[in-house]
């Protein structure tokens, strides 16, 4: 909920807001984050709740945010007195209503963005970050067992979803259904999701949506921060341990962290185990930051190394479900297996030339080495090295109530096959991207709007293939506040996606998906235009959100079975349809009754479908109804139960399938969790949770093991110990 505070006086940018306080307890609030009108970080309140606005602030409108409190939207052109009060809330749905994307290095936008903190996503812990994101309406997770999870936004996945980490575009082999992103929850502060086409800000390939992962290093506070956790899961006898340390003294900061996870084969409800669904992973990160008055910069290195079993492999001539399960749970490596070693070097820099002008640079280097071993330990069946350098240069000119953004984005991407690999799926190739964007934003307290245009070129060069593609796009997003409780957001945005190398030039076996794939050099770029409307009413005790959308898709690319096979692998070819209509809605309520103030009831429904006369759309997410009942007791003492949560997720039947796809029956999953904090400073926390409490046998419609008839995991008891300094 946004509250506008207005009295009248002259504004001075050296003005000090003397105290930010809790409206209920009247105590000062520290760590209140201050953003400008365009979502850019400004400062924090100190231990005494004092906020000092820097001279460099050009925007008259700021927002004050703190987890657990309603955001306060402040117009500095009016006198607001010495004290600012923030009211408490803990309604997740209200986070959806935050008008602008909070934090960070990302591009400021008024688009409808769903942001969640990592704590909100892990209220009941999950096995990995991507599965946590499936708590967000419209977002799902496509899994090849727990070791490989891919985000699905409004039914689209793979290279139709762009992922950014601290503003840096992650480009690997995510086109493959069995290729993960290699990004974990290590040090992540929050995640934002843009649903639908978003080419204006993010360029080519942002057809289905965009994931914006923020680790908070850009806004590091003074002092030392240590965070660590250790998690154990009974279903796969999995352990995950992570630690991160972050230290800032005056203008310099550094951070370092590491994570390790190991899981044996996961258990299905029949007390059997899916053979070779085991995996392990190492992650590490290092960062160095400089926070000057006119210049700020961070340099980060992220490393991931994993070993993931590929379930669903058998030498049986007539396999059935029993060919892929085992009575003994194991953890040791067997074939087939996927190895992924990758590291990202990310450099962010910002130059503030004046109160009004800021130049931001994001660049770095990605190296990814993906290997798949099918029947030989030392010789890969498939091996691809991806190396790329993305560059983004953005200039922002800010007036008091408006901002002009002009920028360039580009990338050089190279894919090289491992010379020892037995097979080649796509040839060696490189691609060069260049794009330019121009955007204008206006902020008028009760309404804000933005409009922009963009053009992108991509040149793909491979053996006997060389082609340049061009796409022009635009976007318009508007937010209108009706009083303090009701908000309407409307977005009209276009996107386009240039065919991936695999879609153009594939001609080989892809063992991870058990397909032989044949590309099509004549594919045209996909295009989409989406209207997204979001209406929300936020009250103290009842909130409601309605978010329908409709998108027109042109030249949609899909995989079509030919009915033939090579070496018992079915052959699929890439084809294209003329047009299709995608439509759906997310609806949510939150009830926090006055007479039972410790209780929260939330419920959301997500629905998606296509209108098309073709059979292009497979893996359409089943309609989902997600409800949770949370109890937050008021307790004192050194051991305090923070909350107890009961969550029920119901998936409707999904019979909207293509000819070679299985339909799935409906099912419901019950999850329960309890969070307990220790000590007066609450540095220790223990989470105890059970996922799939009833040990339900089910097959998720988006599971990549669905064609093999393999169930998703059964009951999973999770214990997580967390330490935060």
């Amino acid at each position: 909920m946004l509250v506008v505070v207005c009295t009248y006086a002259q504004i001075s940018y050296s003005q000090i807001i003397k105290s930010v306080k809790d409206a209920q307890s009247l105590q000062p609030l520290n760590d209140v984050t201050v953003y400008d009108a365009f979502g850019r970080f400004v400062t924090y309140s100190n231990e005494l709740g004092v906020v000092v606005l820097p001279d460099s602030l050009s925007s008259v409108i700021i927002t004050l945010e703190k987890p657990g409190f309603k955001s306060l939207y402040l117009d500095l052109s009016h006198d607001h007195g010495d004290d600012i009060f923030l009211s408490r809330h803990s309604q997740v749905l209200e986070e959806v209503a935050i008008v602008w994307q909070s934090a960070y290095l990302g591009l400021p936008t008024f688009a409808n963005i769903d942001s969640r903190s990592i704590e909100q996503l892990n209220g009941i812990p999950q096995t990995n970050l991507m599965q946590s994101l499936a708590e967000i309406p419209g977002v799902y997770s496509s899994n090849t067992g727990p070791g490989i999870s891919k985000p699905v936004i409004r039914g689209l996945q793979g290279n139709r979803i762009l992922t950014f980490f601290d503003g840096y575009k992650l480009e690997g082999q995510q086109w493959g259904g069995d290729h993960g992103l290699g990004i974990t929850e290590l040090g992540v502060k929050d995640v934002s999701v843009v649903k639908g086409p978003a080419a204006l800000l993010y360029g080519a390939d942002a057809m289905g949506g965009v994931l914006l992962i923020n680790d908070g290093f850009w806004e590091t506070e003074q002092g030392l921060k240590i965070s660590a956790f250790s998690q154990f899961e009974t279903n796969s006898m999995g352990t995950t341990s992570a630690a991160q340390i972050q230290h800032r003294k005056n203008k310099w900061a550094w951070q370092a962290g590491g994570r390790f996870t190991s899981h044996a084969d996961y258990k299905i409800a029949k007390k059997q185990f899916v053979d070779n669904s085991r995996f392990n992973e190492y992650n590490a990160k290092l960062g160095l930051g400089f926070y000057g008055g006119k210049f700020r910069s961070t340099l980060q290195v992220l490393m991931t190394q994993n070993q993931i079993g590929l379930p669903g492999h058998t030498h049986d001539s007539d396999p059935d479900e029993s060919s892929f399960v085992t009575n003994v749970q194991k953890r040791n490596k067997i074939l087939p297996v996927q190895y992924n070693k990758q590291w990202f070097t990310i450099w962010n820099a910002e130059w503030q030339f004046s109160n009004k002008d800021v130049l931001k640079l994001t660049t770095g280097f990605t190296h990814q080495n993906l290997l798949e071993h099918d029947h030989k330990h030392t010789i890969p069946a498939l091996g691809m090295i991806t190396q790329n350098i993305p560059v983004q240069l953005m200039f922002h000119h800010t007036q008091k109530r408006s901002m002009l953004t002009a920028g360039l984005q580009g990338m050089y991407n190279q894919i090289t096959n491992n010379k020892e690999a037995e097979e080649i799926l796509i040839p060696n190739a490189n691609q060069k991207d260049v794009g330019a964007v121009l955007k204008m934003q206006w902020d008028r307290v009760k309404w804000k709007t933005e409009f922009g245009i963009r053009g992108d070129f991509r040149h793909i060069n491979a053996k006997s293939f060389s082609k340049t593609y061009f796409g022009a796009n635009a976007g318009w997003n508007t937010t209108i506040h009706f009083g303090s409780k009701r908000t309407l957001k409307v977005g009209l945005n276009s996107g386009f996606r240039i065919p991936h190398l695999s879609e153009l030039l594939a001609n080989g076996a892809h063992h991870g998906t058990f397909r032989y794939e044949i590309g099509n050099r004549n594919l045209k770029p996909e295009k989409a235009v989406q209207i997204d409307v979001s209406y929300d009413r936020m009250g103290d005790h009842f909130s409601f959100i309605l978010n329908p959308f409709v998108a027109l898709l042109n030249d949609f690319i899909y995989l079509n079975p030919t009915g033939q096979s090579i070496n018992s692998m079915p052959i699929f070819e890439y084809k294209q349809i003329n047009w299709a209509l995608q439509y759906g809605a997310d609806v949510g309520i939150h009830w926090h009754p006055h007479f039972a103030h410790s209780w929260h009831l939330e419920s959301t429904i997500s629905y998606l479908n296509y209108a098309s006369n073709s059979t292009a759309f497979s893996l359409i997410p089943a309609p989902r109804w997600n409800s949770s009942l949370k109890y937050e007791p008021t307790m004192k003492g050194k051991i305090r139960i923070e909350d107890v949560q009961l969550q029920f997720t119901y998936f409707f039947p999904q019979k909207n399938t293509v000819s070679y796809e299985w339909a799935t029956a409906d099912y419901g999953l019950l999850n329960v969790g309890m969070n307990t904090v220790f000590g007066s400073k609450e540095r220790w926390k223990i989470q105890i949770a059970v996922r799939n409490l009833t040990n339900k046998q089910y097959i998720d419609h988006l599971s990549r093991l669905k064609p093999l008839g393999l169930y998703n995991p059964g009951r999973n008891i999770i214990i997580k110990l967390i330490y935060n300094l």
């Binding site: 030392l224 190492y282 590490a284 067997i334 030392t378």
Partner: protein, 67 residues
């Protein structure tokens, strides 16, 4: 700060991976009969998987993985 360095050191130690040769039991199929070749490790393993087994001028693939 000391606490932070201790945690960092602990993390660093826990992520040092010891590299050792992989060893696997290998065999090849000759006239539907499984001929065991015993454990092979490191370079021997790679050599076996690369070169295979030549018997009477016929090359047979050496398999070193579980089924």
């Amino acid at each position: 700060m000391k606490k932070g360095l201790f945690v960092l050191g602990l993390a660093a130690i826990s992520f040092v991976a010891c590299k050792k040769d992989e060893c696997h039991a290998c065999h090849y199929e000759l006239s539907e009969e499984r001929i065991e070749l015993g454990q092979k490790c490191g370079d021997d393993l790679k050599q076996a998987e690369t070169a295979g087994m030549v018997v009477d001028g016929v090359k047979y693939d050496i398999h070193c993985h579980e089924h």
